[in-house]
């Protein structure tokens, strides 16, 4: 399963990088989202996979019984998802504003700092 996920992560990264290299600024945002997803999955996979055992202390027990999924990558990813969303929202509005301002959708036209 790790090998399969490794290729999925590689594929998502490749797709994300290809999109941010492109000219369309809308696709650039899509690429950023894909890169975020890939990064989350990378942390998740690199932390070790455990099937169907969430890190939860059962009722009546004092601690979780192994095997259980590692909670630390999960805590990190949870933060990353939320932050990623915040950045995405900002980026989207920024793209919208940029388009209103400079009237182009093409990153190749945005070569100077003056609008």
């Amino acid at each position: 399963m790790e090998i399969l996920l490794a290729f999925l992560i590689g594929g998502l990264y490749a797709a994300g990088f290809y999109l941010v290299l492109g000219r369309s600024i809308g696709k650039l945002i899509v690429g950023l989202v894909l890169l975020g997803q890939a990064a989350n999955l990378l942390i998740f996979t690199a932390g070790g996979l455990t099937r169907a055992h969430p890190p939860i202390v059962p009722e009546g027990a004092l601690e979780a019984q192994p095997p259980f999924a590692d909670p630390i990558p999960q805590a990190l990813i949870l933060t990353a998802i939320v932050i990623g969303f915040g950045v995405l929202a900002f980026a989207l509005v920024l793209v919208d504003r940029t388009f209103q301002r400079v009237g182009t959708y093409d990153t190749d036209d945005m070569t100077s700092t003056d609008a």
Binding site: G10, G16, A75, Y105, D106, T111
Partner: protein, 773 residues
């Protein structure tokens, strides 16, 4: 001995407040500020006696202990000679500046730079630690930069300042490298510690030659030796007191000082001998010849200074007792007469409005005191008895006659330079004041007392020292020479040694010098023709070629890397990442196929396939809605994976966020124009795709490597144990977020709020300012 610290740092302190002092007393600021250099002169004069008896004074404290850098000062015979020159001439120059720049709106700033220079220069000659010496050394370069560029509204002054800074600054860096290497060899950065060990460790080291070249690069750039002499004549853009002080009497001697200071470590090596004698000899002759070409008083003096610096380097290279004494005596002589001549040149410029020797004549009646000062200095420069210049010249002749190698060549060179000096001395110090009065741009008038007191005193000292050469020699030259040679000497200095070869050479020098003076016009034209013919291959042109080349290269690099195209920036970043990280991953970490911990289930394989297809669709699709849906598929797929592998919280969050993302995308994308086909050429797309695939491959390899590394025991057990007992929560992930790592979550909330405010701001901005222009 805190006195030495006070001596060095009081200058910096006064420099810091000098502009305010000037504001309080604008008419008298030169006299007021000169009290510090005067006090320092007195302080150093008090040390003459003990040091002539062989004492040395030290002070030091730890500066950067873990690097072995101490701020340590050493006052011995050599430093004392320089200290007296620096503070003594400094006093007169500060007074002179007050008069020379009277009414100048930036005079306060000028005083500050001048005092900063004085303090730095004292630091150079007093530092016993190599790093401290380097720091002060660069501080003198910096203050020289400020002073040359003082009249910063003129482009020529700015260019000259930059040239001086670049040449001496680069030399300073070479010097630092040399000093650090020496520090490694000796295990200490203290110069006195190195001297105690002797030259053995250094000269037997395989790095000896590189170190020698680095140290000499520092000395030669600072002391304007060929081919680095080009900056000094251009530095004449500075006001006259700066030329007199920095670029004649003191700063340009720092290189000579350095050579003298480290001489015990390098002496005996043939490289040391030939580098110093060669560069010094060439510089000595070149400077004297070029001085004959110039017509501007200050430029003539500048080239003759270059020549004098060459003489000093040559003499130190000869490395005999007599040559070292000659060098130090000439150093003193030159500081006195050249300082005076620069100051009188400034006074003439001030009084008559011109510095062109062809336009000046007969000024003695209008400017009698200046004429007297200039005459005294010029006679010392020409080496007429009983001036101290005569003693200096005699000693030089004795030294070159005693040279161990190339005696004939060195003696002829010295003779040639000296007879040109006679002519130059007459041209700048005598000629403008005698003969018929010439028409000058300004009605000539005598300079105020501030302007004549300095040169007159310097000229008088040059005469007085010549009258008591034995005392001056004993108190200043011999102690300094014994430091340079690392053994004591007891030579006697006197005006008259009886009939010998040196006296004969002196007579030849006067006669030939007078002839050259008489024939100066045709001679100057001849030199000008030769130097004009050589200009295209000369170092002055070379400097600009290197400068332009560097700027051109920087421009080229900037054009490639700072293209403004996002695509190109990313390509560089990604290419570098793939190259470096890929190299490490494939060649350093043993890349191998990991063991599968979990077997793939069919629905998982199906999900992964769907996600990859969706990612591909997001790339290929031209329709916005399809792209958004494809993105959604990938996102929901990720949340399903989280769900399968024991992360229900992640799955839930991801589903929520994904839903919001899709809504946001739809909202924004519908504001953008419908169909835009933006694609690059097939070649560019192929490049993008291959870089993207390489990055993807790298990340795959990274995951495959990372999953093999599992830390057992994981710190997860800590959270498992304490989640319920300490934080009263069953869901460990939640407990980590809100309790164990609560501050992280606070930070996360802050970031979200900032993003929210940003979004709000951008939206408000639109409604507030209307549509795009």
């Amino acid at each position: 001995m805190t006195g030495l610290f006070t001596a060095v740092f009081s200058g910096f302190l006064l420099a810091a407040v000098a502009p305010w002092v000037h504001r309080l007393a604008p008419r008298r600021s030169g006299w007021i500020l000169a009290s510090l250099p005067l006090a320092l002169t007195a302080y150093f004069v008090l040390h003459i006696g003990p040091i002539a008896e062989g004492a040395a004074f030290r002070a030091g404290f730890s500066w950067i202990p873990f690097l072995g850098i101490r701020l340590s000062f050493l006052l011995d015979g050599l430093s004392l000679l320089f200290c007296l020159l620096i503070t003594g001439i400094g006093t007169l120059v500060v007074v002179y500046s007050g008069g020379y720049l009277k009414g100048h709106p930036e005079l306060g700033r000028f005083h500050a730079y001048l005092l900063m220079f004085m303090a730095s220069m004292l630091g150079v000659v007093l530092s016993d630690n190599a790093i401290a010496l380097f720091v002060f050394w660069e501080l003198t370069s910096l203050s020289s930069f400020f002073l040359i560029g003082f009249d910063h509204e003129r482009a020529a002054a700015r260019a000259a300042a930059l040239q001086a800074l670049l040449v001496t600054g680069l030399g300073g860096l070479a010097l630092m490298a040399g000093l650090l290497l020496m520090g490694r060899i000796y295990g200490s950065l203290e110069l006195s510690r190195m001297m105690a060990e002797g030259s053995g460790p250094l000269q037997s080291n395989p790095l000896f030659l590189p170190i020698l070249i680095l140290v000499l690069a520092g000395a030669f750039t600072k002391s304007a030796q060929f081919p680095f002499h080009i900056w000094l004549p251009n530095a004449m853009e500075a006001p006259a007191p700066v030329s007199a002080y920095l670029h004649a009497a003191t700063m340009v001697k720092a290189g000579v000082y350095l050579v003298a200071r480290v001489n015990p470590l390098f002496a005996g090596s043939p490289f040391w001998f030939w580098m110093l004698v060669g560069a010094g000899g060439v510089t000595m002759l070149l400077g004297a010849c070029l001085a004959m070409v110039e017509t501007d008083l200050k430029r003539i003096l500048a080239y003759s200074t270059v020549s004098a610096l060459g003489t000093l380097t040559l003499l130190l290279g000869l490395d005999t007792i007599r040559a070292t004494e000659a060098a130090l005596a000439f150093l003193l002589v030159h500081g006195l007469y050249k300082g005076a001549l620069f100051l009188t040149a400034g006074a003439v410029d001030h009084g008559a409005g011109s510095r062109n020797v062809a336009e000046l004549g007969g000024l003695r009646r209008a400017m009698p005191i200046t004429a007297l000062a200039a005459g005294l200095a010029a006679l010392s420069m020409a080496g007429i008895p009983p001036f101290f210049g005569f003693v200096g010249k005699e000693t030089i002749y004795q030294a070159v006659l005693g040279s161990s190698a190339a005696r004939g060549l060195v003696t002829s060179a010295a003779l040639l330079a000296n007879l040109l000096f006679v002519a130059i001395g007459l041209i700048v110090g005598i000629r403008p004041f005698i003969g018929a009065l010439k028409e000058t741009p300004q009605h000539p008038h005598e300079a105020p007392v501030d302007l004549w007191i300095g040169p007159l005193l310097l000229g008088a000292i040059g005469l007085a020292a010549g009258l008591v050469p034995g005392a001056v020699g004993h108190d200043f030259v011999l102690r300094a020479a014994s430091v340079v040679m690392d053994r004591t000497t007891e030579t006697h200095f006197s005006l008259w040694h009886g009939w010998n070869t040196a006296v004969a050479l002196s007579l030849v020098t006067f006669a030939a010098g007078l002839t050259v003076f008489a024939a100066r016009h045709p001679l100057s034209r001849g030199f000008a023709r030769v130097s004009g013919a050589l200009a295209p291959v000369g170092p002055a042109r070379g400097y600009f070629r290197i400068l332009d080349g560097t700027i051109g290269m920087a421009r080229g690099v900037t054009r490639v890397f700072q293209s403004g195209y996002l695509n190109r920036y990313l390509l560089f970043v990604l290419f570098t990442t793939v190259g470096l990280a890929g190299y490490t991953l494939f060649f350093r970490a043993r890349l191998s196929w990991p063991e599968e911990v979990l077997h793939v289930r069919f629905y998982e394989a199906g999900l992964v396939a769907v996600m990859l297809v969706a990612a591909l669709t997001a790339i290929r699709s031209r329709a916005r809605l399809v792209t958004v849906i494809a993105l959604g598929v990938v996102g929901y797929g990720v949340s399903l994976l989280f769900l399968f592998f024991g992360a229900p919280d992640l799955a839930m969050t991801q589903i929520l966020v994904e839903t919001l993302t899709v809504i946001l995308f739809v909202l924004i994308f519908y504001r953008l124009p419908q169909v835009i086909v933006l694609s690059r050429s097939a070649g560019m797309r192929l490049l993008d795709a291959s870089i993207a695939l390489a990055c993807g491959g790298l990340m795959t390899a990274l995951v495959l490597t990372a999953v093999r590394v599992q830390w057992r025991p994981s710190i997860a057990s800590y959270f498992s144990e304490h989640s319920l007992s300490l934080a009263k929560g069953h869901n460990i992930v939640n407990v980590i977020l809100v309790d164990f790592r609560g501050f992280d979550t606070l930070g996360e909330i802050t970031v979200l709020s900032a993003a929210g405010i940003g979004v709000y701001g951008l939206l408000k901005l639109r409604s507030g300012r209307g549509e795009a222009p």
